[in-house]
Symmetry: C2
Subunit: 340 residues, 2 copies
DNA sequence: GTGAAAGCGCTAACAA
DNA sequence: TTGTTAGCGCTTTCAC
């Protein structure tokens, strides 16, 4: 059996309550006994039993994190951020991977809610209804998504797209196509909106393609359409899709960025490893994870605003897949060739 | 407050003990009361408080998982496997990411040990000593590594390398170089050994390069050396390194597999997404995660063998980066050119 | 087959 | 400042 508070009390010659106080609220106990208790605790290697403590305080010192897919590097970054912040605050974190199965979510949420003080919910696509339905009294912070009445941390997707379009416009692109992600994705909606607004503002034609699954094969499937759209640049819903695009374009012998520029979103590690390296919009998921935990912790102590919101900045990262727009004449010729 | 066993007892008109029994050991209670209790429990949405239960049973129904880096797709697969198996057995899992910092491990392990029934430890590089030092009485299962006296699940690295070398030999390669991973990595040791044995058996020259960090830039750094080694094929410690190799080779305009073949290990998702797609040795990390949990659970119930071992098969996946060996004369010429 | 009571390890009133 | 007591929600003897 592990060493309990009783053992420490006996060793230090004080009562259990004194041990408890000496360790949790040291200022309430005289310096001399405090020292004696702490020495005994250290000597015996005492660590309070969190379950027992939780039973009485109602706090578990655990946080829950729900992600759709741990194998997705984007969510891996979130997890690391959440972990780091949680550990710093002496919280442990339960992670639940829904395997992209939104229907499993309510059950998971309910199960989690019992054993944690708060939950970070990263479920880009499950319908809002499920959230409220699952309605536990455990505080929940949403990631990458806003639902009325819920605290959330998001990134400024629209501004990221603004940077992207302005970058392309500055390179002379006049016709840009967007390979859309899932219709139900909140981020996708934000991105479309930012794209549309900026395209109009800078006088760029925007061609909307999709929706495509947010995966490599989604990009593969979209590549030929993008090429045929007459656009000289394509913005993908995310980096994985952009990678698929690049792959198919490469297989067809289409030069990137000479013939067509490609731009992703998220800045997953892989983006810097392709050849040519992918220009993309970095979304600070690690920081977002940390912010979500901070928000949760704040919610747990003082209530503060009922549903705080935090939006993090995005940042264009220019690499090698975007370049000066090709001569429109050359493009037109090509298309003419093709239609012959 | 959540609904407790007391509420259910009141609702069903029985004692707490009967509720407890009806739910945990249904055969000990009469069918009619059992039904009544279960109905009440369901109606009230009762879920037992795991902490309270754990306090008395000594079981937490939690498992711990320590990985060096969640952003590494290999470990992501492990996590998913562990999760799946744990959830099936109604266990939750705490995940701790050491951020590749082996020195943080003992502390993490101790902290984890308090709140879980068993730990899956995935720490390829930390010295054996730390393990035994951390020596908790919580059962630990090692992944991808064997240490005397510890249960472990591993993959057959050596056999994977056998398949790799035989594949290359069959393609006519006579000189193969290995870009080694970290010296302290158990897997790397196994791979080197398998490589050496098979190379000798099939009459292939083996050139040992490295050790390199098991990252993309490790591969980038190794590429020129590999090319200069006179080998017509290069086997990388893992896929990420192979990707780095591919990148640098591509930047230098070296044709893969025409000039040189490249072979990775692990079969991470990215391997299928490169162009050309990477030939690699698949290691079943998802299954390994599940196996580790199964082992842990077995350890928890009946003791069984003190330190069970389980080794999973690896499987060569042939894609596009390995091809017929170039004419040796061509290679020689090239090198002659260069030395001029 | 069921209930009463004890107690897991801890903290929080309440006394002293 | 410290000790005593009660009790968190649950399981498990031990009676009945």
């Amino acid at each position: 059996m592990a060493v309990t508070i009783k053992d420490v009390a006996a060793a230090a010659g004080v009562s259990q309550s004194t041990v408890s106080r000496a360790l949790s609220m040291p200022e309430l106990v005289s310096p001399v006994t405090r020292a004696r208790v702490q020495a005994a605790a250290r000597r015996l290697g005492y660590e309070p039993n969190r379950a027992a403590r939780g039973l009485i305080t109602g706090r578990t010192a655990n946080l829950g994190l729900v992600v759709p897919d741990l194998a997705n590097p984007l969510f891996a970054a979130v997890v690391k951020g959440v972990q780091a912040a949680a550990r710093a605050a002496d919280y442990s974190v339960f992670i639940a991977d829904t395997d992209e199965d939104a229907s499993a979510e309510p059950g998971l949420l309910r199960a989690l809610a019992k054993q944690v003080d708060g939950i970070v919910l990263c479920s880009p696509r499950s319908p809002d209804a499920e959230l409220t339905e699952a309605g536990t009294d455990t505080p929940v912070v949403l990631m990458n998504r806003q639902v009325a009445g819920y605290p959330a941390v998001t990134v400024d997707n629209a501004d990221g797209m603004r940077q992207a379009v302005e970058h392309l416009a500055a390179l002379g692109h006049r016709r840009v196509c967007y390979v859309a992600g899932p219709r139900s994705s909140w981020s996708n909606g934000q991105r479309e909106q930012g794209l549309r607004a900026t395209a109009e503002a800078v006088g760029v034609d925007l061609v909307h393609l999709g929706h495509f699954p947010p995966r490599f094969d989604g990009g593969v499937a979209a590549a030929d359409l993008a090429l045929a759209s007459g656009a000289s640049a394509v913005v993908a819903y995310n980096d994985i899709v952009a990678l698929g695009l690049l792959s198919r374009l490469g297989a067809r012998g289409v030069a990137v960025p000479d013939r067509i520029s490609v731009l992703g979103c998220d800045d997953i590690p892989m983006s810097a490893m392709t050849h040519p390296a992918l220009t993309t919009v970095a979304v600070p998921q690690h920081e977002a994870g940390r912010a979500a935990v901070a928000m949760l912790l704040a919610l747990l102590s003082d209530a503060g605003p009922t549903a705080p919101q935090r939006e993090l900045a995005t940042q264009l990262v220019v690499r090698a897949t975007t370049g000066v727009a090709p001569d429109p004449a050359a493009l037109t010729d090509r298309r003419a060739d093709r239609s012959r």
